[in-house]
């Protein structure tokens, strides 16, 4: 049981290695292995989620293995590079989200017929990387898995994408690589500052001084953050570094142009993983590192963070209104929704943070579902162009219905996960930044505007003759879409299923940062 988390990360990676030894001709064997591994990983994640102690705000299911020891790195203390895992109330839901989206993306990849083996290899590795990012309890481990997601996604886009895939993949790689570099600087600064501070040698962090140990362990950093505070100057500087990394990582305006391009070019399974999970990492970084370890830096720049969030909300929504391709529209919609999360984090309220985690999960599920439904539609109509679609309710009632559910969920309809997320995060942000939040609510109107517009053009209206003979959802698609819809509605109707896991952790963070 205690190893469930570690196994969750390990399984897809092992399966990826295993896939390498399956002959390429045995495509169905490859699919079978991949699906089994994803399913098992999901089950382990589920087991961890169920076994998660909701009353505790610490990292649970700890697992640590030393990978490398640099002896005498700091005087006589060695520098220990570890693979360490653990999950708290913030990461646990995201791990489960990874499992669900990973499995569904794997099912979705049935429509891949070229270089099948490689596709599943990279997909499994990407899943392992995503699990690893959320499950890691060590800065090094985190960064390791973050880079793993970067490389794997690059290959997934650049090999199985559409015509412009090379360009989009390179853009993706450069942007996120850049974000990683900035993030690495932030990590080093964070670990150094805390080490210096813990040693009590100096109140100011400066480069010439080397502490005589360095801890990369996230729980330890958090516990140190509970004992003392970094200097304001250090917090401010580090927070800005993290914010910059997250802005690029999470495709916030104006560093966003890589996301629509990537989504437009990638295949549907990859899009589900990117939109559903990968695009949550940036805000997870902010929640994990900025909020917990740099509270004063966040407080200092909360207005900036909130403002950037609102800009992304409104800008993303307005640009989404002008998009002609479903995938680009979803990309901008996701930018807009992530702006809400940024606004919520800036609020520094327990409710807002809870709403932020809710929104990450909800938007993950809904974005993946939107991509799935749109992909299923495009499988049949061969187009993602909104203006080339129309009247699909007639020939594809089930897929259209699911698309409608996903759209309404994104709009924030009560009874689905989007609403409770929006409610909680606006509750937090109205308490702290009423004007920013008031502008942010415009996004709630705009999202209805662009999604319903696209819906109306796609599924409503007179049926086009070329779409008369389309076949509706196959059983495998039924299953995938039903799982998503069920989860979205479950969270919407009974949010405690998610809220109880998140609550204690968020509450303890808020208590510590005095929000």
């Amino acid at each position: 049981m205690n190893d469930a988390l570690f196994l969750t990360v390990l399984l897809p990676a092992l399966a990826a290695l295993f896939v390498l030894f399956v002959p390429a001709r045995a495509a169905s064997a490859v699919r079978g292995v991949s699906l089994t591994a994803q399913l098992l990983a999901l089950l382990f994640a589920l087991a961890a989620y169920i076994g998660f102690n909701k009353g505790m705000a610490v990292f649970q299911f700890p697992f640590a293995a030393t990978w490398l020891t640099v002896p005498n790195a700091f005087g006589t203390t060695p520098l220990v590079i570890r693979f360490a895992f653990g999950a708290d109330g913030i990461s646990m839901p995201l791990i489960l989200l990874t499992g669900v989206v990973g499995l569904m993306a794997s099912m979705r990849s049935h429509s891949i017929h070229e270089r099948v083996k490689e596709h599943y290899f990279w997909q499994l590795l990407l899943t392992a990387g995503l699990y690893g990012v959320f499950a890691s309890a060590d800065l090094f481990t985190f960064f390791f898995f973050l880079e793993a997601t970067l490389v794997t996604t690059y290959f997934l886009i650049s090999v199985w994408g559409n015509e412009g895939r090379r360009r989009a993949a390179t853009k993706f790689l450069i942007y996120r690589g850049l974000a990683s570099v900035v993030l690495l600087a932030g990590f080093i600064g964070l670990a150094y500052s805390y080490a210096v501070q813990a040693q009590g040698a100096s109140m100011q962090v400066y480069l010439g001084f080397a502490p005589n140990f360095l801890s990369l362990s996230i729980p330890q950093l958090i516990s140190e953050a509970g004992k003392f505070q970094l200097s304001i100057a250090a917090q401010d500087a580090l927070y800005l570094v993290f914010l910059l990394a997250v802005l690029v990582e999470e495709a916030f305006v104006p560093f966003h142009t890589w996301l629509p391009d990537a989504h437009e070019q990638a295949d549907t399974g990859t899009n589900m993983l990117i939109g559903g999970v990968l695009m949550k990492i940036g805000l997870y970084i902010l929640l994990r590192f900025a909020v917990e370890l740099l509270p004063q830096g966040l407080q200092q720049f909360a207005w900036l963070t909130g403002l950037l969030g609102v800009i992304s909300i409104i800008y993303g929504a307005l640009v989404a209104l002008a998009q002609k391709d479903w995938r680009r529209l979803i990309a901008f919609s996701s930018i807009s929704h992530m702006g809400l999360v940024l606004l919520a984090i800036a609020s520094l309220q327990a409710v807002g943070l809870q709403g932020a985690v809710f929104m990450l999960v909800s938007s993950g599920l809904l974005t993946a579902l939107l991509f799935y439904a749109v992909g299923a539609q495009a499988d049949r109509t061969k187009t993602f162009e909104i203006k080339n679609l129309g009247g699909l309710s007639k020939s594809l009632p089930v897929i259209s219905g699911v698309l409608l559910v996903a759209a309404l969920g994104s709009v924030g309809l009560p009874g689905m996960s989007g609403f409770i997320s929006e409610f909680a995060l606006f509750l937090g942000s109205f308490a702290t930044f009423p004007w920013l939040a008031a502008v942010g609510t415009l996004g709630m109107i705009l999202v209805a505007l662009y999604l319903l517009y696209a819906m109306q053009r796609t599924t409503f209206g007179p049926q086009r003759t070329e779409y008369d003979q389309l076949a509706d959802a196959r059983p495998v698609e039924y299953v995938a879409m039903a799982v998503f819809v069920a989860l979205v509605i479950l969270i919407g109707v009974y949010p405690s299923v998610l809220g109880d896991v998140v609550h204690t952790t968020v509450q303890s963070i808020a208590g510590r940062i005095g929000g």
């Binding site: 307005l318 709009v411 309809l413 609403f419 008031a438 209805a448 505007l449 009974y494 809220g499 808020a510």
Partner: protein
Amino acid sequence: MTGLAWLVPVLPLAAYVLLLIGGRRLAEGAVTSIAVLAVAASFVISLAIMIQVALHGPQPAVTFPWLVLGSATISFGFEVTSLNAMMLVMVSFVSALVLLFSRGYMRGDARFARFYQYLSLFVFAMLGLVITSNLLEFYIFWELVGVCSYLLVGFWYFKPEAAAAAKKAFIVTRIGDVGLFVGMILLYLGFHTMNFDTIFYGQAVSSPYTMAHGAPALLFAAHALTGPGIHALPYGLAPAAFVTLTALLVFVGAVGKSAQFPLHVWLPDAMEGPTPVSALIHAATMVAAGVYLVARMFPLFQASPAASDVVAIVGGFTAILAALIGLTQHDIKRVIAYSTVSQLGYMMLALGVGAYVSGIFHLMTHAFFKALLFLTAGSVIHAVETQDLFEMGGLRKLMPLTNAAFLAGALALSGIPPFAGFWSKDEILSAAFSSGNYVLYAVGLIAAFCTAFYIFRVYFLTFGGEYKGDRHPHEGGLAMTIPLTALAVMATVAGFFNTPWAPWIANFLQDRGAVGYDPAVNWGLMVVSAVVGLAGIGLAYYAYGAPGRAQRMAQKSGFLYTLSFNKFYFDELYDRIVTRPIRAIAEALGFVDRWIIDGLVRLVSGGVYTGGAGLRYGNTGQIQTYGLVTLFGVAVLLIIAAGIGGVL
């Protein structure tokens, strides 16, 4: 019985689930039976609850925790007060009849079961909205009502107008919803609770102190101004300002849902949906929700005179505006739709001047006669297959039952005694008069005149004269006639529930003390409103009794006619100042995004690429050149090293 109140909304939900699972395999009759029986059972339970409330007073709210949010727990639950007991009865009654009527109207539709499925969900959402004890839960059902109306208005999705109307309805009401959403959040920030009672009275008061408790406004004001909430009021707002702000935000929600000016534009377009849907939306569910919201939040509005004034003025303005537009429309359903907007304006007017009972009473009577009017219109449309008034005529002889029913509804709407509308509308007008709002009274009176004119215009054009079409109109089946009869009876007699000499409803709603403002009986005003109504009918008879006269009248009124016919150009105005600018901004931003922001990115990457390609030419392949450069490099390094005195 009140313990079973949760069954009232759950039964239609069960019907929805049942139809969702097995709807396609069931025959039309079975589908109808499931849905109608579920709602009818709800009606029976509601009736029992209402009787119990009348006998024993309201019951305490039943709640259970739903979500722990921050440091507070949000509970869900339901409660039965006199207000929502009455609403439950009214909603379930009208809904059951509309569901039954749809059996005939939708016969043979390819998605018959789907239609009933949506209707059941719609009814569930409305009943849930009524019964809830908590603002967040209220909002959830409120949005669900909106979505159901979206689905139902766009039911014939293959009609582009229907799809556009559904979208418009959703987005326009969404604007109001956001106002309510913000109001709800502010209320929560101020009072740290979502429960209505706790918001109004500072504590979760149990049965004797629900809505109908004596002088709630004072209690609320005391709570808001001096109670524990004062420390929690956000942004350092003064209590009075805070109450006004939240009340106005809540009212924005009601404006959207109840199609009040300036968000009234969606309701007439929503006529593109099937007629039973219109009946349901206009009578019992969607638009009633807005009025119900204001009534439910009445203490909040009572505590803020400014907000109340806004409610009254918006209501009055909407009443006259919609009535004027209704004068000239050609589409039978549109006329009735504008009449709904207008009547909802009356209700808002009533609530705004503090006439709580009158507003709710009018909501009830209106539900009966408006459902009746829509269903008769549906019956007519079903028979003649057109909605244009000028292609009908002479149906009095061909469809006698429909004729009688429509006449009852029209008389009720016009406020002719003793029909239902007379009593409620008169109460509103006398409340406006006796509260000193003479302008609003005058506006209401003019609107009443217009109302009588336009509805009898419809009557004379539809049922009078000779039939102009080439079909053979006849009455619908039992499924259509039974609801018509039942509603016609109600439209005729419902007014007697609350006559000046027997104010049953007023007593029921205020069984624990007066709420708001109850005008004294004023026989003079009653005569005036009856005369105005009759005058409107007389003018309609004069204009449409002889051919060509109406046209001359229209020509004489000139541009006023054009203005009214084009609905005062509100659609065009919004198109110019809202829709198109937003779309233009979106397109411009899309352009900026693609060519300027991404263009900058491409410029940077292109610059790097070009720079790299240029530098490549430095790579000549001439090893001696490399060596020479290296030599100079080493020399420079050495000079530097010598200059700074070594590098170690």
